[in-house]
Point group: C2
């Protein structure tokens, strides 16, 4: 499913080929946690040339429920998006959102953050859930450790992650896609900030032969040095002929760094969340549009940008919309930031 197009040192330009379309890599996936990128329509995502996005098993399992999405004919039909879709297993959301959570040998027990109800994810039922969702690329259930964590506990979590990855892979092989197109399954490398654990985890996952590999549990509070130490291992420990996905990392400088180390795919809430807070990306740095300095500034947010916001509205207007708490401001800012990220990745691809 991965085709290498060109290589510059460790950097790679390539394609991830799915039956719902091709993703030119390196690529950034906007996050559609609850089956929408917040404050965006799928139509706008299309006009911005978004190639794919990631949605979340934890969230969609709890609301609206997988039966609904199955009744719709899968996630593509439910949300009206014909291009590739990734689904995260929800391992990270069990860590970050669920109230009580208890890791057991065969799975993780947790309480919904919505209504406190009890649920259990196992590596096997989690594959079934993602079969029901019908994503093009599904992720295995993993145990993402909090940061900081001891090497001892990181090893326990890694062993569980590996055990679950093996079970998820077996179950994946024993089950079928439900909606007429092929699904792929990626393994997730854990091991916190400990390079030897990361290396071991990668090696053992590679033996299981997944369709692609991801680094998980990165940028959850570690120092920049910690993060870079792990990112730098990419080309050494992740197979060359398969996609390499750096999960949840979305600072532009980190993406740039990780591309140079050989990563292909990224996802993060940063462009959309920052937009809703009034932080806009430009080639000259971030603009905090709520700041008083923009009240009377009739320039475009970014004169070089071709998005709806920059072609049509001034900083003063956007400043006003944010100060007046108008949803329209969040919509325009989100469109700008997602567009910025898409263009940023385009430039990266052109330079490889």
């Amino acid at each position: 499913m991965y085709k290498l197009i060109s290589r510059k040192d460790k950097e790679r330009r390539g394609q991830i080929i799915t039956e719902n379309g091709i993703i030119e890599t390196p690529a950034f996936l906007p996050v559609a946690t609850q089956a929408t990128v917040k404050a965006m329509s799928m139509k706008t995502l299309r006009t911005l040339n978004v190639q794919a996005f990631i949605t979340n098993t934890y969230h969609l399992y709890l609301r609206p429920g997988l039966e609904i999405i199955n009744n719709a004919g899968g996630i593509h039909k439910f949300i009206n998006w014909q291009k590739p879709i990734f689904t995260d297993s929800g391992g990270f959301q069990v860590l970050s959102l669920a109230q009580l959570r208890k890791f057991e040998k065969d799975g993780v027990l947790f309480q919904s953050h919505i209504d406190g109800s009890y649920h259990k994810f196992t590596p096997e039922n989690n594959v079934d859930m993602q079969r029901n969702l019908g994503s093009d690329i599904m992720m295995v259930l993993d145990e993402c450790t909090e940061y900081p964590t001891t090497e001892e506990y990181a090893k326990i979590a890694m062993e569980r992650t590996l055990d679950w990855a093996y079970k998820a892979k077996q179950h994946f092989l024993e089950t079928k896609a439900l909606y007429g197109y092929k699904q792929y399954q990626f393994g997730i490398i854990q091991g916190s900030v400990y390079p030897s654990l990361r290396r071991e985890c990668a090696e053992r996952l590679v033996e299981m032969d997944f369709d692609g590999y991801a680094m998980g549990g990165i940028a959850i509070g570690e120092t920049k040095e910690n993060i870079r130490d792990i990112i730098e291992m990419c080309d050494e420990i992740m197979p060359e002929h398969k996609p390499r996905y750096l999960m949840g990392v979305g600072k532009l400088e980190d993406i740039e760094f990780a591309v140079k180390q050989g990563f292909d795919i990224f996802d993060c809430v940063i462009p959309s969340r920052n937009a809703r807070n009034g932080t806009l990306f430009t080639d000259n740095g971030k603009i905090l549009i709520r700041n008083a300095q923009y009240k009377n500034d009739f320039k475009a947010i970014d004169e070089n940008c071709d998005c709806l916001l920059c072609r049509n509205y001034s900083r003063a207007y956007l400043h006003h919309l944010f100060r007046a708490n108008e949803i329209t401001g969040m919509m325009l800012a989100t469109e700008h930031n997602i567009n910025y990220y898409m263009k940023f990745m385009e430039k990266i691809r052109e330079n490889i």
Copy 2:
């Protein structure tokens, strides 16, 4: 500025001609209180064939401030809308939003609902404000009474409204448009639920020779009968050769009734506010999309509707977005409801 095209009993089809474009009437104006229709971009308003909208002097005077809009080159440039724009004087918002308010002979003193600061609107400075905004059609400052109000007080408020209308007209004649296109000024008929006051107010305003006339202070708590009694006076007391505007009335059945009585223009927050609450208009009645019955309903909101929402998404998806508190849901619902109102008015025009 008003051109009659056809007439059926009291109903009239016509055009309101401004230097920024023509409004085919009867027409509905979406409300852009704070310089945007909530959860919509101007681009979407254009695709829905919105002809004009109304924004508000009270709100824009307080935030962002008229100096900002003047610096932008007027409201059209500030919000990037090249077609006609109405501005309300803010008389109604002083009643409904401002904290303290005190009506004096020469104007109304009030406290901002945002920060409690003190301000005074006079008929003259309110014209200056709307000159600064640069709307195509401005409304005079009036005293809108609460409902219920005694006939005695309604008469006091009417006399003040007439006195202010006269002053506003004089000041309008003594001042000039700032942005190179002509502005028009409409008088507002007050008089609460008392037909004799409404009649007297209309007669005396007509003597002042405004460019158009509006009924104000309607649908603020009166019975349906009260409302209809006043609306029925339209053709009798409002001049034939000028536009007739029924302010703030937006229930579909009331618009239908008022068109039959000879009204040309309507504005109301109903389509956009209801959308944000999850209430959608269809030919088969309203849909309350949060209701559980839509959880598993994969039909379009309205099969006969051509809007983004109805062409692309199911009731189940919109239900999910509202239950998950996603802004995207409000955006799609707003687009649908504004489209519904535009199509509703189109049908009304075609039948005259």
